[in-house]
Amino acid sequence: MRIGQVVFLLAGLSFAVYATRLRSTVTDRLVYLLLAGAGCVLVLYPDWSTGIAHRVGIGRGVDLVIYLFIVFSLFHYASGAAKARQTERAITAIVRRLALAEARPDSALRGEAGSPSGGASAALDSLGVPPVPPDRQ
């Protein structure tokens, strides 16, 4: 196995570990800065890319830059997905809270069927549910 392939596998593995365990907003930003810094260096000193590429077993310096860009894209995806997940969690919490607060109980819970569930109102209160729908007070 060429060293380039080994590096690829290690990179893939460490990304998986990163995405499932180590990732946080802080680490995302550190990675961004690191990769951006590497990108700047390679722009300022393009000959360095060929040297490093040969050392790692990659043909051209351009290929190295491309691979670094792929790595950057993976981290960018993980970071974006994490934000999207946070947003979805927030939306879920809000929509659920609203659903519970505006719930219309059936007639038994409202006390109309002659069997008022007094205990129910206390429990529903803890959920933020008014015992009688707001429009019927």
Partner: protein
């Protein structure tokens, strides 16, 4: 965001005089754009003595209006979150009611048979079980009109479940499930969309809940087949499961 919140409900119910002999059993019916089928389902359910909780998952049609005609608890998501989220909302509401001892989930599209419910409840009451899962593929179960591609996808789902949870089941994606209220509370579902079915099973396995399958009758009508998620849905489920470990 649609202006669903402003709707007020009529006090005059069209179907009244329901018996509430078993308010300790809550039937949760998550519904998304099921305006056509829901009335029929709720009419059948009102023959039973159980409490019914309909969760309208941000429907754009008359689902909520249909549900409001019946003597049921009605919860509405202002935004569509997914069947898993609708179930979680319903479970949260049901388990907050002090009378509740059993929670059953039931589909709104008319696929499930209301007559199967008493058997699920009896199994929970009489046997030492936390969960009873409905299955289409055991002896005594009646399956009519299931498309071949769907059957194959379900087979793969069964193998996947055995691999990931260790549970050996004959049906891994059946929406009719009965729980004791404590078991339902302990599920703490996080998957909003269709991956919730896999999440329920892996939680059962993680928590070591006592479970059993029981045959149920499922009707595949042209309505429900057209509406149901295709086998492409399996890709979305796998994706959700794979990315659920990401931080």
């Amino acid at each position: 965001m649609r202006e669903l919140v402003a709707t007020r409900y009529e006090t005059q119910l069209e179907f009244d005089g329901r018996s509430f002999d078993r308010p300790d059993v809550c039937v949760i019916v998550p519904a998304y754009n099921e305006g056509a089928a829901l009335a029929g389902v709720l009419e059948e359910l009102s023959q039973l003595p159980y409490r019914v909780i309909v969760v309208d998952d941000g429907s754009g049609d008359n689902t909520a209006a249909q549900a409001a005609r019946f003597d049921v608890c009605l919860l509405r998501h202002v935004w569509n979150l997914g069947q898993g989220a609708a179930l979680a909302t319903g479970i949260m509401y049901a388990s907050a009611l002090p009378e509740t001892r059993y929670i059953v989930t039931f589909d709104a599209d008319g696929q499930h048979t209301v007559a199967d419910l008493p058997r699920l409840i009896t199994a929970l009451e009489k046997e030492e079980l936390d969960v009873v899962l409905g299955t289409r593929f055991r002896d005594g179960a009646v399956v009519s009109g299931i498309p071949l591609v769907r059957r194959l996808t379900l087979r793969m789902g069964i193998a996947f479940t055995r691999l990931t949870t260790g549970l050996v089941l004959t049906d891994t994606h059946n929406g009719i499930r009965a729980f004791t209220v404590n078991a339902a509370r302990s599920l703490k579902l996080t998957q909003n969309r269709m991956a919730h079915a896999s999440e329920i099973l892996s939680r059962i396995s993680q928590l070591g809940l006592r479970y059993r399958e029981t045959p149920v009758t499922v009707r595949y009508t042209s309505y429900s087949t057209a509406k149901g998620q295709g086998s492409i849905g399996a890709v979305a489920i796998l994706w959700d499961i794979a990315t659920s470990r990401m931080r």
